[in-house]
């Protein structure tokens, strides 16, 4: 045991010693923090996509929609999770004109206009996609490109936030992404795409 630790903990103990009793730890019902919309019989994807749109995110339900989005903005160069690429490649090849890599080269971080990675979950009531080290093939690929596409399966969607907390995976790095990166630091004006994506897509496949 280090002495720095002992010193600090001794100060904590001394500070608390005079207390005649300690405040108890109350239990609470998770229902308390679930919003009305997420209670009862709700279709998870319907709620999720409405919430995601509410934070300026983009819910999509087919690869064709994704290709249309990328084509419209002429975003042709990107990264795709190697496992997902097998599933998506036929549609991209058929559309033509895309250059997609399956390893993310950090030396060329600004060359990628989009990054496609797998989500490990989602939260319907907040429009959140959940990433993790295990599910998401590259942290940088999900963050550095202007457009991030998180691929999602219907069964992965939690209705509410406490459910997603209860299902936090044993993973060193779980990230909830709720819409595009944003700031309001300058005069309170909303600007999207600060350090991370300006466009956050959730693509529902299956």
């Amino acid at each position: 045991m280090s002495s720095a630790r002992d010193t600090l903990l001794a100060r904590v103990k001394a500070a608390l010693a005079p207390l005649p009793e300690r405040a108890p730890l109350p239990d609470w019902e998770r229902e308390l923090v679930v919003m009305r919309e997420a209670r009862g019989a709700v279709d998870a994807w319907t709620l999720f996509s409405a919430r995601l749109a509410g934070v300026n995110g983009t819910p999509l339900t087919s690869v064709a929609e994704l290709i249309a989005l990328l084509t419209k903005s002429d975003w042709r160069r990107g990264y795709c999770d190697p496992a997902l690429w097998a599933e998506l490649r036929p549609a991209f090849d058929a559309a033509g004109g895309f250059t997609v890599e399956t390893t993310f080269d950090r030396a060329r971080v600004d060359d990628y206009q989009f990054g496609i990675t797998a989500a490990v979950g989602a939260i319907a009531e907040t429009g959140t996609v959940v990433l993790s080290d295990a599910a998401t093939s590259s942290r940088l690929a999900a963050l550095a490109p202007w457009t991030h596409i998180a691929v999602l399966r219907r069964a992965q969607i939690h209705l509410d936030l406490p459910a997603a907390i209860a299902a936090l995976p044993k993973d060193p790095n779980v990230v909830w992404c709720t819409g595009p990166s944003k700031t309001a630091d300058v005069e309170g004006i909303l600007i999207e795409g600060v350090h991370g994506p300006g466009i956050q897509v959730a693509l529902l496949l299956g």
Partner: protein, 464 residues
């Protein structure tokens, strides 16, 4: 007569700064209230519950801290302990030196503001770049944050554009989008060059050893995607007893702080990256920092350690809105700062003993606090402490109460003063709770003196 420093600061504040602070905080408060009451039938119940759980944390730190440290170590995190700001800074530097690291990118952490980490590292040959847009602007300006959540609430776009131009970030352009894009390009290089990413933590779960970070910009995520070493500086009060408690606090924090349902990036970090993951730290350190917190813990104001740094009390506070954050001369401004800053100052308490006076005790801060801190009560306790300590700056402008209390405990003298005030047509200064009459009368009239009239009316009625 000596004057209160915060009042003087407010009087000299530039009108455009006051307008920026006022508008920004008012909007923040309105958004917070709308969202909380729209989403939940009884937000006050949630605030009280969150306050009770945090109070449990504060009063059980002696068991929860070792538990959290053990959980973090199980997850592969190296835990360090720092009783002072100097020790905390030295611990950061030692980790960097051991790796031969020279460059750090840093997300927003209030505790690193307390320890002046960036300055310290700079003096020791380490480049430390702030990555939160607001904090980055503060850094290049050599300024200080004036709000816990919105560090540059006091600046306008023209000032920012001027300093960007001065620091080689492009020709003058005050469009917020252009400012943001330029910072994006500049900081992106910094992330990729950096050896170490430093963050704070909004919460640490004592049972599972997860650090929780919330940001909107994605800068802390970038720090943890681009660098090979993660250092987190964490105040010892940041613990939550159970991972499930996050469900309560994450919902309250975003709504109270920025009026969002949830911040854009909520990160749960429990150790170095997975072996299969190409990006991110292979080494993770947590430094638990005291820096005066145990002083607060030992005081009668330990409730302030519940604070989750949302800034809602600043946004609603009428004094903050008039005076701005810099008036508080400390890292933590506003109502929370008026309590926390003098406590964290330790022996330097008298220097900041005037801060608890900067309140009309209106209680709005308590009403919005997501952990229900009874801030007015704590301000009052610190006022009593300031009086006992004989702090001159705290006493400034407060009428002495000795004569008044003498009079107010002697009914005959009290009644005589009431009628004397009438006949002499002057106000007996020791009787009325606003004795420095000239200060009162500078901006306000005083009603006609009617001392004794009600008592006479009561007596006359009794005779009938």
């Amino acid at each position: 007569m000596a004057l209160q420093q915060i009042d003087q600061f407010a009087a000299k504040l530039r009108p455009d700064t006051r307008a920026a602070v006022y508008d920004g905080s008012k909007k923040g408060h309105e958004k917070r209230t709308a969202v909380l009451f729209d989403h939940y039938p009884d937000p006050d119940h949630l605030r009280r519950l969150a306050g009770n759980i945090k109070q449990h944390v504060v009063e059980n730190l002696d068991t929860l801290l070792p538990a959290a440290a053990a959980a973090l170590e199980r997850n592969g995190v190296k835990v360090h302990w720092a009783s002072t700001a100097e020790e905390a800074n030295a611990a950061v530097l030692a980790i960097m030196q051991a790796r031969g690291a020279k460059k750090m990118v840093k997300a927003k952490t209030m505790v690193s503001e307390e320890t002046h980490l960036a300055d310290y590292l700079g003096k020791n040959g380490v480049e430390c770049v702030e990555t939160d847009l607001g904090e980055f602007i503060i850094q290049i300006d050599g300024d200080h944050p004036s709000h816990i959540v919105k560090p540059i609430i006091h600046k306008n776009r023209r000032e920012i554009a001027t300093s960007f131009e001065k620091h080689g970030l492009g020709a003058y352009n005050d469009d917020p989008q252009t400012i943001t894009r330029r910072a994006r390009a500049h900081l992106r290089r910094k992330y990729l060059e950096a050896d170490v990413g430093l963050t704070g933590a909004n919460f640490v779960t004592a049972d599972t050893g997860r650090l929780v970070l919330v940001t909107n910009e994605g800068n802390s995520r970038f720090c943890l995607a681009a660098t090979k070493c993660h250092i987190a500086m964490v105040g010892i009060e940041k613990l939550l007893p159970r991972e499930t408690d996050l469900g309560l606090y994450l919902n309250l924090l975003a709504r109270s702080g920025t009026g969002q349902q949830l911040t854009v990036y909520t990160e749960f970090i429990s150790g170095p990256r997975s072996p299969a993951q190409p990006d991110g730290p292979e080494e993770m350190h947590v430094i638990f920092v005291d820096n005066g917190r145990t002083e607060a813990l030992a005081s009668e104001c330990r409730e302030i350690l519940r604070c989750i740094r949302c800034g809602a009390c600043l946004n609603v506070c009428p004094v903050y809105r008039q005076a701005s954050g810099h008036a508080y001369r400390s890292v933590y401004p506003g109502p929370v700062g008026a309590v926390l800053s003098p406590l964290l100052a330790g022996e330097r308490f008298p220097e900041l003993a005037d801060l608890p006076k900067a309140s009309s005790l209106c209680g709005a801060c308590n009403e919005v606090c997501p952990v229900n801190i009874p801030i007015p009560d704590l301000l009052l306790r610190l006022r009593a402490r300031g009086k006992e300590a004989g702090a001159k700056n705290a006493a400034a402008g407060t009428p002495p109460m000795g004569a008044w209390s003498l009079l107010a405990t002697q009914p005959f003298a009290w009644r005589t003063s009431l009628t004397a005030g009438h006949t002499l047509n002057y106000v007996p200064k020791s009787l009325i709770p606003v004795p420095p009459m000239q200060t009162w009368l500078r901006d306000r009239t005083l009603p006609a003196w009617r001392g004794g009239a009600f008592r006479k009316w009561m007596k006359d009625r009794a005779k009938k």
